[in-house]
Subunit: 387 residues, 2 copies
């Protein structure tokens, strides 16, 4: 098993990018990552993408992007795990480099969601759920999350207003990220007045439909050290994927993300760390409720106490455990198959000291967590920057 380093990062702005097709988005992110790494070619390209078939009428998207990016010939495959597709592609990239079979790997995440009508995109997102036993009953993805959120409020006796801290932090952090989709400050008053989507979820509890692509370049750590380029090296300290039931109703407790618990705690063990050692956490706030459940299952808050943690100020850029330092899914945006790679890219920005206005004072150990479906696939990465 070889240690794996991240030596290049690239990303497109996130938004409604109507002037860019799927292949152009992939090109922009991959080329930026290659330039950042200072490489001319690579041996493999793994692409995280969920909906190219449904929304863009295109499968075989990894080979398409390899071809369009001038990387013709190299190994290519698409990796899909619903909204965790980006981290799933990262996981395959890590396996490839660790195996000793591949030296230089590009991992990209790309999604183009705004060329279709909102109803079509919503139907596409529902493909992450159990079609026969959830979607067939009319449960959209938002509806499933709304039911979980309502149950959480009932079970732990919290108010809807207590969730506001998550989108407020996300929007605050996005102000310093030029690639974020939204640059608007959110207040508790504005959150309270936000339009409902599927009560109790309102528009501010829900990440946006958008386009975007991100990419990283991986190589063996020992080779990366010689490769140099004067930047702080980032090492993959742990890469763990775990699953749960696809359907929420099959779980013993819908408020407990077992796959987040398993993947984060295996990751801690592999990296020789505890939650206390994590300097910041890029978590999957597709909905505010998922941010809360992720913090609890990953060992950062007791059950039912994540909102208290969020309200305490501990999760801001100045807090003890900053989350979603570049805006998270809510405010940077959530181009589904790309999100897991954006999380890695942003963590590397912090670990390198390249996070601009949002740079953390102490950023040596990062954790990222990407969630597919309503918690059915959860992938945790721990990254370690050089001191």
């Amino acid at each position: 098993m070889r240690d794996v380093a991240i030596v290049g990062i690239g990303q497109t702005p996130v938004g409604e990018l109507w002037e860019k097709s799927l292949r152009h988005l992939g090109y922009d992110a991959v080329r930026a990552a290659m330039e950042d790494a200072g490489i001319e070619t690579a041996e493999a390209l793994y692409v995280g993408n969920m909906l190219s078939g449904e929304l863009n009428g295109q499968e075989h998207v990894a080979t398409l992007i390899a071809d369009f990016t001038g990387l013709r010939g190299l190994e290519a495959a698409k990796v899909e795990a619903a909204c965790a597709s980006g981290a799933a592609a990262m996981r395959v990239g890590v396996l490839a480099v660790a195996s000793g079979m591949v030296e230089t790997v590009i991992v990209a995440g790309v999604e183009k969601m705004t060329d279709t009508l909102p109803a079509e995109t919503t139907a596409g997102l529902a493909l992450a759920a159990d079609q026969d036993y959830e979607a067939a009953e009319g449960a959209t993805f938002v509806a499933l999350n709304a039911m979980i959120m309502r149950r959480y409020m009932h079970e732990y006796g919290v108010d809807k207003a207590d969730f506001a801290a998550f989108p407020i932090i996300a929007h605050e952090n996005a102000l310093g990220n030029p690639n974020a989709m939204f640059h608007l400050r959110l207040t508790p008053e504005r959150y309270a007045k936000a339009a409902p989507i599927a009560p109790p979820i309102n528009i501010m509890d829900s990440s946006p439909i958008c386009d975007g692509a991100a990419a990283v370049v991986l190589m063996p750590y020992e080779r990366a050290k010689e490769f140099g380029r004067g930047r702080r090296l980032v090492r993959v300290a742990a890469s763990v994927s775990a699953t749960d039931t696809l359907a929420v109703h099959d779980r013993r407790n819908p408020l407990w993300l077992e796959a987040a618990y398993v993947s984060s705690h295996k990751a801690y063990a592999l990296a020789g760390l505890t939650p206390n050692d994590i300097d910041f956490f890029e978590l999957h706030d597709a909905f505010s409720i998922m941010a809360a459940l992720s913090l609890e299952a990953s060992g950062f808050a007791p059950r039912g106490k994540a909102l208290e943690l969020a309200g305490s100020g501990a999760l801001t850029l100045e807090g003890r455990l900053p989350i979603n330092t570049m805006g998270g899914l809510k405010a940077r945006g959530h181009p589904v198959g790309a999100t897991g790679v954006y999380q890695i890219v942003e963590a590397v920005q912090q670990l390198r000291g390249d996070a601009g206005a949002n740079q953390l004072g102490h950023a040596h150990i990062a954790m990222t967590q990407n969630i597919g479906g309503s918690g059915a696939t959860i992938i945790t990465h721990i990254l370690r920057g050089e001191e």
Copy 2:
């Protein structure tokens, strides 16, 4: 880098399996492979599948199958590379075991193509081609292959009748495979009278739309030796994926499968072999023309001479280089994302001496080749059975 062994295989019959849903197909193949291997659980499940989103309204299919198969909790991801999705999933499984990060991996391929109207399925298959520059011009997948076949006939001065040897061999071999879709002998006369689909391609040049699933269990070779169970061990001697332009018109020569050349010759080098050492070859006869091009690019026939080789009898079960020993895509059937795994499963049957009526006298080194799109992604595996 650890050597990888195949310790279990499973498959469903191929056909129009209307009584089985996608998850049931996956269950049947995965459970059969686990039983064959004698394992109760695994650490990862990689699923090759192309069209679950388009044809079955379900993404997130790897986690679905993990859940439904009672493997809840393990790592799971879908791998897609059009019709090469099965071998692409196998490639990820090999990387995982070789990396030292995962001990026991299940690789499955599953596809359910007959629940939709033929026009919908045809439109789905076209997602493997370049949507903006091929499919948008009305070029279906059959049409693209028909143009390549016509060019081949023109360039090398061969007759359409000369292609008959490929489907005749496939159908002959399928007679001895209880899991094959078709059990009917094909004659040159019947081939000559077969209904045209996209001339010069007729119905006997074209693999069928069907359902099916196959699975294998992988583990480190050193561990597999102790695992035993009295069967001949099969080792993965090479696993190589290569790509070409997605669109056929972008290639310097549409009659040359560069990705087959690259992946097969890299595989020979990794395994320390030449084409002469290959005992049998499971090739990708989605269309007769692809069988010819695959043989030429992989070094088994000079350019333009594959039909001569096929006509010579060398490719039958008794010949020098048997191909598609259990019926190939044409007669076993081509459930697209599952095909690459079927090829591996059938190669293992031969290498173990478990191929029943179709058992080859000398079967120690097998090659499988799975093609995505019109040659855009080509993945070659070489497997070595114990002497």
